[in-house]
Amino acid sequence: MTGVELLIWVRGPGLQLSLAAFILGMTYRILQTYFLGRAKNLAEPRGSPWIHGMKTMWWRSFFHPGMTIRGYFTIISGYTFHLGFIITLLFFDQHIELFKSWTGLSWPALPPLVITVTAVLGIAALVAVLVDRFADPVRYLLSDYQDYLCWVLTVLPLVTGLLLVYKIWLPYTSLLVVHIISFEILLVAIPFTKLSHVFTIFIARWYNGAIAGYKGVQS
């Protein structure tokens, strides 16, 4: 296949298939988890599990005192790479065009220079967390191949996107193909790796909040 044929494939069937795999996988994963079921709680509730569950879903996104005593590295690098990635994904004009083609919805974009900053910060923070994964004994002990695989899958769209926008290394068409493929691989990988936390985080937080909320504690 030539570059142009690859581009047509990744923009056409590739995007369709990866999005379908993502949706299928995510729906599968969520429902599979839900239908595993859990026992009804017979104890008299002190609080509403629903309300506390929803609150935890939201509040757990924010740092609160007592979350760490070791310093702020994890917090800062974690927020930076998440925000860097999400802002770059959601607020770059050309990405909005993609979402618009899927959903018909669009929203204001951030200037390309701002997006460059968010992408570079995102990459820098990802590099920092990778170094830390090796350097920190706790994270090193917890890590398996999937953590490193997911790191690569996350950083690639950011790196290839920057190369594409600034036309570094390869011609535009080739970089566009590589960039879209990196996104498609990420999309397919999300439901089947720890990256599924992009959705299941809300389920986990809800359960956490609901379990504590049942007892009247806002977790």
Partner: protein
């Protein structure tokens, strides 16, 4: 029937539910739970990272309840959980976890890690990998009625002393009483003042209450070792006594896990809702306070603080009550930096104090509390859990710290203002 790794795995399969699946699906291996665990912060040993303590359970979930995991297991890419592995994990699941639940509060993706440790212990018991100290305590609880081997005659003896000291009658086996008070063996043996304290307060507030001679023990070693079957048996005894005496309320005493066992796990263990209400002594005292039935006089002048028992506060939901009660008698109440639902455990909960093997690690973990107390600079520490109280006293003594540990109910009883017209007030 015999304990075996197969039986352990079978048991774990029973206990992996939707929340567990969502937690393992979501974990990103960020390691932030390590910072929440006093066993990690005081040792810096990465193996004490809370989520790491669940590694075998995670693999089992993956192999049994996910598509790729089942495939990997079939292809031999994922190794089955072995007895040796569970044995190696015994220390992590029991010795280095007090089930305080602080990690569950800080996990950024919302994993309730302690919820899973509780389930992991079910499998460990069925596989035969529980610490011998906990096993012995549980055995005593089932066969004798108390983990410390306390039988009713011993309690009766203590009651006699208290009745002599206070001049009040301690009601035993009174049918139709409104409240049935439970006690922990530790209170009976180490802190009998508690019994006198509640007797004084209840008398003053004109509360009808009783102790059941056949079900006075509140503690539940089944919960600590992590066996629902054994825990249910112990709960059933309390429920039977409460039903026999037709009480409206069962009072959970100043004991952490007893509250979790009776209030939150109990109905689920026996498989039916209670015909009575379980109320924690602090909740009851706070209700009396609100109804002006707990008049106190005089205030403690020394600066003091409150140690939150994890199972009562963070895991139990009784957060503000002890603070409101303390305000009545403390002139200079100060909070530790992390308090309330973000408190640090004493280090002896979750069966750790019954596990002799963990004694040294428990004292190391106590350093967390030592630093907190030193930072605050107090010499008086009030708490509301007999197990916390013993652990704290041990830790303070080991570190040669001059800090007095008080029970909250006793502290209130000491400041009680005798009321002659108490009979006129309504019962709560």
């Amino acid at each position: 029937m015999t304990v075996s790794v197969e039986r352990g795995i079978q048991t774990l399969k029973e206990h992996i539910d939707a929340p567990v699946a969502s937690f393992f699906t979501t974990c990103v291996h960020c390691g932030m739970c390590a910072d929440a665990c006093l066993f990690y912060t005081e040792t810096k040993d990465p193996k004490y990272t809370p989520i790491y303590k669940l590694k075998p359970l995670r693999r089992l979930w993956h192999q049994e309840y996910t598509f790729w995991g089942k495939l990997a297991a079939k292809l031999g890419l994922s190794k089955p959980v072995t007895a040796a592995e569970l044995k190696a994990w015994e220390e992590l699941v029991y010795d280095s976890c007090t089930m305080c639940g602080r990690c569950s509060m800080t996990c950024p993706v919302g994993n309730d890690i302690v919820y899973m440790i509780r389930k992991m212990r079910e499998g460990m018991v069925a596989a035969g990998f529980a610490p011998s100290g906990l096993k012995a305590a549980t055995e005593r609880a089932i066969t004798i009625g108390s983990p410390m081997g306390v039988k009713f005659p011993a309690l009766k003896n203590q009651i006699k002393h208290i009745e002599a000291d206070t001049g009040l009658q301690i009601p035993v086996d009174v049918e139709g009483a409104e409240y049935m008070a439970l006690l922990s063996s530790m209170e009976i043996m180490n802190f009998p003042e508690y019994i006198g304290a509640i007797a004084k307060i209840f008398h003053n507030a004109d509360i009808s209450w009783t102790i059941a001679s056949d079900a006075f023990e509140a503690t539940n070693s089944g919960i600590q070792i992590g066996s629902s079957d054994l825990a249910a048996e112990l709960v059933e005894r309390v429920v039977a006594a409460a039903e026999r005496l037709r009480v409206a309320f069962v009072i959970s005493p100043e004991c952490g896990h007893a509250y979790t066992a009776l209030r939150w796990e109990g109905p689920n263990l026996i498989g039916r809702p209670y015909p009575f209400e379980v109320i924690h002594i602090l909740e009851l005292l706070d209700r009396l306070r609100a109804q002006n039935r707990l008049p106190v006089t005089g205030k403690i002048k020394e600066k003091l603080t409150f140690h939150d028992p994890c199972q009562i506060v963070r895991r139990g939901g009784v957060v503000d009550e002890p603070r409101r009660l303390l305000d009545m008698v403390a002139a200079d109440f100060a909070e530790m930096e992390d308090h309330g639902i973000m408190n640090w455990c004493c280090g002896g909960g979750g069966g750790v104090s019954a596990n002799e093997r963990a004694a040294k690690l428990k004292l190391t973990a106590f350093n967390r509390k030592r630093h907190q107390l030193e930072a605050l600079g107090v010499n008086t520490l009030v708490t509301a859990c007999a197990n916390c109280r013993i652990t704290l006293e041990e830790g303070l003594e080991f570190n040669n710290m001059d800090v007095a540990v008080l029970g909250l109910a006793e502290t209130l009883a000491e400041h009680l203002e005798e009321q002659s017209t108490s009979a006129t007030t309504e019962t709560p």
